[in-house]
């Protein structure tokens, strides 16, 4: 049965190699669009994070002594935040912050690490310096000491070069614990929030014109929406291409019925029921699509492997979503095959004899 099926599929379909190739190309297109656009979106998200597009900032314009921070955090379910004081010196900026700032901003280190919570607890005078300040402080390694405003700090981390974002040029910043810097400095909070903050709420909480709210979420949302739109349009186009290929298979199957009159007639004369013929056509077309899917999947994996090998990027294959698309293609293909299979199964022996396919 298996050998016959394979022989039947390949003999009957050898005229349809081009259509099968078209199905393969279309499926490859769908999978590649999905994989590459997912990769791009993931990278864009990473870039957003590095740029600080997902970070909001409230900078106070007047010093406050009330518990506005607690209210803000509680009422807006802010999970990650860091209070800060900033002071601009002549050649660099001092940022007094909490160790949690490293969870908000994406810092890459040339050596060492960010300020640690334990360092704060033991009044360990930790400092992290931007890359361009190495020369200024004459400090090229971690664990060296530098003196700022009469206090000796131990360098625990040196940032990588070009570590900047929309908020700060971190190359020219030093980070120390917030307690060291609370006079004559700008104060505020950096935070990550799933919900966008309502300006009216902030006006009520902090008083109008008492703060500056910096939020990039609008820009981020617009960019993400645009990316999603592009991805969806590409996937729809790829699916249109798959559908066109499947319609070609259906059309070939329909036109193939005439040329397969003899075969249908012989089989029915040997005792094949309409159901047998129907199943044969369904199986044949499904096998074509499955072969197409197999070849496509293999090709996509090879392409991804090549990209990862030769390009400076790591493209990951999301098995779940791609399997979903493959199942969808299989379902579309199977549904489209019902009509030609039904047509073929309805042919009677006498019709095949009259058509001279079978004589």
């Amino acid at each position: 049965m298996g050998v016959w099926l394979i022989k039947e599929v390949f003999y009957q379909r050898k005229r349809h190699y081009l259509t099968t190739a078209a199905v393969c190309i279309s499926i490859i297109l769908v999978l590649l669009v999905n994989i590459i656009s997912s990769h791009i979106i993931e990278n864009v998200h990473l870039s957003f994070k590095q740029l600080g597009l997902n970070i909001s900032c409230i900078q106070l314009l007047k010093k406050r002594s009330d518990n506005w921070i607690e209210k803000l955090i509680e009422s807006n379910q802010i999970e990650k935040y860091s209070l800060y004081h900033k002071k601009q010196e002549r050649d660099y900026k001092i940022i007094g912050c909490q160790s949690s700032l490293a969870e908000i901003f994406t810092f890459n280190f040339e050596s060492g690490h960010f300020l640690t919570e334990t360092g704060n607890m033991y009044n360990d005078n930790q400092i992290v310096i931007g890359n361009k300040l190495k020369q200024y402080f004459n400090c090229y390694q971690i664990n060296e000491s530098i003196i700022i405003k009469g206090i000796t700090f131990k360098v625990v981390g040196i940032l990588e070069e070009d570590c900047d974002n929309l908020y700060e040029d971190f190359d020219k910043c030093v980070f120390i614990f917030i307690d060291y810097l609370n006079k004559d400095s700008q104060s505020g909070i950096y935070f990550l929030s799933e919900n966008r903050l309502n300006e009216r709420y902030l006006n009520e909480l902090l008083g109008k014109d008492n703060f500056l709210f910096i939020d990039q979420s609008q820009t981020k949302d617009a960019l993400i929406n645009l990316l999603d739109l592009i991805r969806n349009v590409l996937i729809v186009l790829a699916f249109v291409s798959v559908s066109v290929s499947i319609i070609c298979i259906v059309s070939n199957s329909l036109s193939g019925i005439d040329s397969r009159m003899k075969e249908i007639g012989i089989k029915k004369a040997l005792g094949a029921s309409s159901k047998d013929i129907y199943l044969q056509f369904i199986v044949e077309n499904t096998v074509i699509i499955i072969i197409g899917i197999f070849i496509s999947w293999l090709t996509v994996l090879i392409i991804v492997k090549m990209i990862n090998l030769y390009a400076e990027t790591k493209v990951a294959v999301d098995i779940v979503s791609n399997t979903g698309y493959i199942i969808l293609i299989l379902i579309i293909g199977s549904i489209c095959n019902i009509y030609p299979a039904k047509k073929a199964s309805e042919i009677t022996i006498i019709e095949t004899i009259k058509n001279r396919g079978f004589n």
């Binding site: 029915k268 005792g271 006498i350 004899i353």
Partner: protein, 214 residues
């Protein structure tokens, strides 16, 4: 075994009715060896199609093993088709299957089957089982078609011009096989216009204008 009473089969040809079977009466006994002869268009092939269960009659009765075929539901009609072997002038083998696969194709749709090799040896096609139809002579193809009938243990074989595409030598060989099969209890009904072929049968039925005349 097979009985047709006042069987009528009409075809619509160019807005006029053509009576392919014209109130035809026919009775075929068990283990018969019959030739149906007549000029082209006399209704021989239509009669064969009706007996094989490929076509229905418009009027009259067709009894197979004393059962009225016109009352058969689809599944029983399929059983009728399965129980009768038909051999055609053009052999009707599938080009993409080997001889062996062509013979065994019949077993795909039937539960009962015989051993292939004894049948192949009997028909002298055991050495060509792995060849494709395009590599065979006409006589070999027809023997493969006969083997396809025998593999599923058919007790009735209808043959529509079985020697029509064969040379005299091969034609005689095929008729020899039919004679042997008939001696073994298989009923053979041959449609032919060749009198020499018909004369080798036990009974000759002559048709004219859709009726049995002799």
């Amino acid at each position: 075994m097979i009985r047709l009473d006042r069987a009528v089969k009409r075809y619509q040809v160019d807005n006029s009715n053509l009576l392919a079977l014209n109130y035809l009466d026919l009775k075929l006994e068990e283990n018969c060896f019959v030739a149906i002869v007549g000029v082209s268009g006399c209704g021989k092939s239509t009669l064969l199609n009706v007996i094989a269960g490929y076509d229905d009659i418009d009027y009259g009765y067709y009894y197979f093993q004393n059962e009225d075929v016109s009352r058969f539901p689809e599944n029983k009609k399929l059983e009728l088709i399965k129980s009768i072997g038909v051999i055609f002038q053009d052999f009707n083998l599938l080009d993409y299957l080997t001889v062996k696969e062509n013979i065994l194709l019949a077993t795909r749709y039937l539960d009962s089957r015989k051993e292939l090799l004894p049948i192949a040896c009997y028909l002298e096609i055991d050495d060509i089982l792995n060849k494709y139809p395009s590599q065979l002579s006409g006589g070999q193809k027809q023997r493969v078609a006969i083997a396809r009938c025998l593999i599923t243990n058919k007790r009735i074989i209808l043959a529509d011009e079985p020697t029509g595409s064969l040379d005299r030598e091969n034609g005689l060989k095929i008729m020899g096989i039919f004679e042997k099969l008939n001696k073994e209890g298989i009923s053979i009904v041959i449609v032919t216009h060749d009198e020499n072929i018909a004369n080798r049968c036990k009974r000759i039925i002559r048709m004219e204008n859709g009726r049995v005349v002799d």
